[in-house]
């Protein structure tokens, strides 16, 4: 065998091996397996398997508290669907809600506390335990307690709503000098404005569209799934033919496309139109006689009275201000006043004087206190009725540079806070902002500490229905995942901070768990003995009285059932105050109307185009929504996009611009870049821009945004000119 290593033998060995290789299953099997691998790459996720179950809960993404039927595989939700809601009548979820179970896996989700410090190279972040973060913050709070002159402590509640906000207010009242701050504009504003105009104190109202024949919407997003839209969609679905929708909108929104009539209006002039319609209704005596008898203002005719104000808005004048033909204004007023029950609505985020004017229209046509329009309801029974609460302060009323320590409750996924406004309220030096959020701060949000809290569907949350529904309702958002990870809620962090700092004057609530608080809320409802319970499992409704104990009631709610209050017999003889009940509110309204009346909207010849601000991609860009919404906002052209400036063809021609051209938009306050798109739905002399483009060119903040509905309001009209960009 000495020659075994000869070259010839090696070749023979190789030959033998080759033959052996071919005769073995190796090459053929490998070929087969590799071809399977190429069809089935290992990094493509594998599907989970397991039995399918269903779990009922409710959505906390917006105040509507829609009922949810979650399809679960092995204890993990795979899809969410609407469950029947007897209170509203609908059983669907909006596009954001359908993907609500993704929010726990949002790419910017955080699971650890972070401390951020500004360095020369930007902001550096450092992970620390929640306990350590709380200890740091407690120390700051302790310092504030010892030396109050260093600045104040405050909690900013991004979405004041329901029980949790209530707890926070009660809790803060035990902390010396603590402030409870709420956004300048938030949900429920529209319905609450009515309380200022009716006689009964403490009465709540809701909207009942079940018999409404005319809905006059002042720029409300009717179909986007936020706020009022479940009520509108339900009527649109079930009685489309008798439900006449008139949409007043400054751009061709989806609501205006679907509405029976779209009245295109110059942005910022909606209040003039509302008063113009009131002018016609009063002048032609189209108002509801019973309501007119109740309305105290119709009988007075002094300067700055209601009659005096509406007199200033004859159709001809309104036509020139709003850009709407005079005959359309008159026709709309007649239709609204004659095709009753009729209801006019405005956005919660709309300017106060517009909301006020819209309520005037409702009062004139007798919508208030009528079935089929605005109905009275009893508020949700509250636990801790007599407890002392820190009153809310609007953000704009907080003195500038007064806060030393600010905690932000960002448990609402849509939070769009004006960050520069917040910053301005902080002391220039040595101020600390603590963000309690499931997600990392967005760009431009400079926080010092981040403490992670639960994402939606990760914990039990009290979930009262929104302000619009005709009867109060309450449900619990139960977790979809069994408790696997440690997490907490903002109010629990607040408790721990305050306890650790020694700043608390009373130890109330300090040891309560979320479940115990929910039980207290359930006790309060149970003791009222009112209302019915609806269980989506069998679609059955039973009276609350037939439930034996508060514990049973709680257990039923935890299974996904919902409680809704009984309707109230509506009294229709209270007085109506068109200008507002108190002298101060009447004066405020009159002043803002007169201010508009004097100034109007003036353009500047060097900035000829009026900006129509839209925000339909706001939720996707600024809010925390599931990345799957890219289907709507990125992978289709369904919604206006933020890179573009939408112009009418005529406008483009007049300024010698072509589609897809890069342009610079100048305003007196700055400039921004965009790409031209031509769209015949945009009014001539206007340019439609997305909210994120307004940063550079808007003179004022805040812009008021309803992030899912895609509504943007600017404090003042913005005028611009457009120039071709030099490449």
């Amino acid at each position: 065998m000495s020659s075994a290593l000869s070259r010839r033998n090696i070749l023979k060995l190789a030959g033998g091996s080759a033959l052996g290789f071919l005769l073995s299953p190796m090459p053929w099997k490998m070929l087969d397996d590799i071809s399977i691998w190429t069809q089935n790459w290992s990094w493509i996720p594998k599907l989970r398997r397991g039995p399918v179950t269903h779990k009922y809960t409710s959505c906390t993404l917006c105040p509507n508290a829609c009922r949810v039927n979650a399809r679960m595989i092995s204890e993990t939700p795979v899809s969410l669907w609407g469950a029947p809601d007897p209170c509203v009548g609908h059983s669907y979820l909006c596009s954001v809600g359908l993907a609500g179970h993704h929010l726990a896996y949002h790419p910017s989700r955080v699971r650890n506390a972070h401390r951020f410090t500004a360095t020369e190279n930007g902001i550096s972040s450092e992970q620390l335990s929640v306990e350590d973060a709380i200890a740091h913050i407690a120390k700051i709070l302790h310092n504030i307690h010892v030396r109050p002159e260093e600045g104040e402590f405050a909690l900013f509640d991004c979405r004041p709503h329901g029980m949790v906000s209530d707890i926070q207010q009660i809790f803060l009242s035990h902390v010396l000098g603590a402030r409870y701050i709420v956004p300048d504009h938030h949900e429920g504003r529209f319905m609450r404005a009515l309380m200022e105009m009716t006689e009964d104190p403490g009465q709540s109202y809701g909207l009942d569209f079940s018999r409404t024949r005319t809905l006059l919407s002042f720029g409300v997003s009717l179909f986007e799934g936020w706020g009022i839209s479940p009520l509108v969609v339900e009527q649109f679905r079930s009685r489309r033919e008798e439900f006449n929708i008139i949409q007043i909108d400054h751009h061709q929104s989806s609501s205006s496309i679907v509405a029976d009539t779209h009245i295109a209006i110059k942005p910022g002039t909606e209040m003039a139109l509302a008063l113009g319609l009131a002018h016609v209704i009063v002048g032609e005596r189209l108002y509801d006689p019973a309501s007119a008898a109740r309305a105290v203002d119709l009988k007075r005719n002094k300067p700055f009275s209601f009659m005096d104000l509406t007199r200033r808005f004859p159709p001809g004048r309104v036509a020139s201000v709003t850009g709407i033909p005079e005959d359309v204004i008159v026709r709309t007023a007649r239709e609204f006043a004659s095709n009753r029950p009729a209801t006019a609505i405005a956005d919660d985020f709309a300017p106060a004087e517009l909301i006020h004017s819209v309520w005037i229209l409702n009062h004139l046509v007798g919508a208030t206190g009528k079935n089929g329009s605005v109905v009275q309801k009893r508020p949700l029974p509250q636990p801790w009725k007599g407890a002392h609460r820190t009153p809310p302060t609007r953000l704009r009323n907080v003195p500038d540079h007064s806060l030393r320590l600010l905690m932000i409750d960002a448990s609402a996924a849509d939070t769009t806070v004006s960050w520069p406004d917040l910053r301005r309220k902080m002391r220039a030096e040595n101020a600390t902002i603590v963000l309690c959020s499931p997600y990392r701060p967005k760009r431009g949000e400079s926080v010092d500490y981040l403490i992670p809290i639960h994402a939606p569907y990760e914990t039990v949350r009290a979930n009262p229905s929104g302000e619009y529904v005709a009867t109060s309702a309450f449900q619990i958002s139960t977790p979809l995942w069994s408790k696997s990870e440690e997490g907490c809620e903002t109010w629990q962090i607040l408790q721990r901070v305050v306890s650790a700092s020694g700043a608390m004057t009373k130890e109330e609530f300090a040891q309560l768990e979320p479940e115990e608080l929910l039980r207290l809320q359930c006790d309060a409802i149970f003791n009222s003995k009112r209302g019915t319970i609806h269980h989506p499992n069998n679609d059955e409704t039973i009276p609350l009285g037939s439930v034996l104990s508060s514990g049973d009631f709680y257990a039923t709610l935890m299974e996904g059932a919902a409680w809704s209050d009984d309707g109230v017999a509506t009294s229709t003889n209270g007085r109506l105050f068109l200008m507002g009940k108190s002298t101060s509110s009447a004066q405020r309204f009159a002043e803002s109307v007169l201010a508009f009346d004097n100034a109007g909207i003036d353009s500047n010849p060097s900035f000829p185009l009026l900006v129509v601000p839209v925000g339909e991609d706001v939720a996707a860009r600024f809010g925390h929504v599931s990345p799957i919404l890219s289907k709507i906002y990125q992978e289709s052209d369904l919604k206006p996009r933020s890179r573009f400036a939408y112009l009418h063809h005529e406008t483009a021609r007049r300024f010698k611009l072509a589609a897809e051209q890069r342009v610079i938009i100048h305003s007196p306050h700055g400039a921004t870049e965009a790409i031209v798109r031509c769209d015949s739905s945009v009014r001539p002399d206007t340019v439609q821009l997305s909210v994120s483009q307004l940063d550079a060119i808007s003179p004022t903040r805040p812009r008021i945004i309803n992030s899912y509905g895609g509504r943007v309001y600017t404090d003042q009209p913005i005028f611009v000119r457009i120039e071709r960009a030099r490449s």
């Binding site: 069809q39 089935n40 790459w41 990094w43 493509i44 996720p45 599907l47 989970r48 398997r49 397991g50 595989i73 993990t76 939700p77 795979v78 899809s79 669907w81 609908h90 669907y92 979820l93 909006c94 596009s95 359908l98 993907a99 993704h102 896996y105 949002h106 790419p107 009717l222 179909f223 986007e224 799934g225 969609v233 649109f236 679905r237 489309r240 061709q252 989806s254 609501s255 205006s256 496309i257 679907v258 029976d260 009539t261 599931s626 990345p627 799957i628 890219s630 289907k631 709507i632 990125q634 992978e635 289709s636 052209d637 369904l638 919604k639 063809h649 031509c678 769209d679 015949s680 739905s681």
Partner: protein, 257 residues
Amino acid sequence: MKSIEISPSQYVMVIDADRCTGCGACMVACAIENNVAPAHPDATDRTGVTWMKVVKVSSGNNGDGKPACYLPLPCQQCAAETPCVTVCPQNAVEVDQQTGIVFQMSQRCLGCRYCMAACPYHARYFNWWDPEWPEGMEQTLNPDVAPRMRGVVEKCNFCHGRYQAARASAAEHGQASSDPVTYEPACAQACPTRAIKFGTPANNEQGVGDLVHSSSAFRLLPRLGTEPRVYYLSKHKWIRQMAQMEKETSTGEEVHG
């Protein structure tokens, strides 16, 4: 133009254009149901994957009181001369004789995209990127639909996974596999205004049997003779006429699709 009668036991979808509010719930429900991944950062309306795509169509100033409308565009499930089937070199597209569903076998697909060029409705989508879900989100995938990979074409199949689940439950009740079953695709279930209806004309689920014969029913590009199984409804003449247009309405300044 020859007209092939669609078998009444095969599924049809009827979409009421006058009821569509453009909210996009169907698009999201579809993506979740069918395990379509969120967009790659570079994806656009031309390179994204949206089995169900709602487009806005403007009337161009001749709308009878309706300036624009929304049209949800799923695969039209052509019953005759199905263009994608004809051109596919891989036999990766198949029309099921029983249900009428046009099915894309992504595992067999070569990624040549002839079918996309052939499809007159732009209802087919190519996976330009690997499907990627944020960490953990892959746990929420629907077990009834297999995820696809980069480099293959995919499209709407009337929620075939739901059809199979419905078949299995029919079997549990002893029903033979040849009997049609009642089910509803995700888009129809999600639609807040019930603009999307689905069923077989024979069983007339959700009234589809009557709706396809109503005077406001129309189909897209009927002159091609592809006999789509997706019907649309509109009372507006210009919307019905748009469907007959010589040119496809997918580009141009008036249509955002």
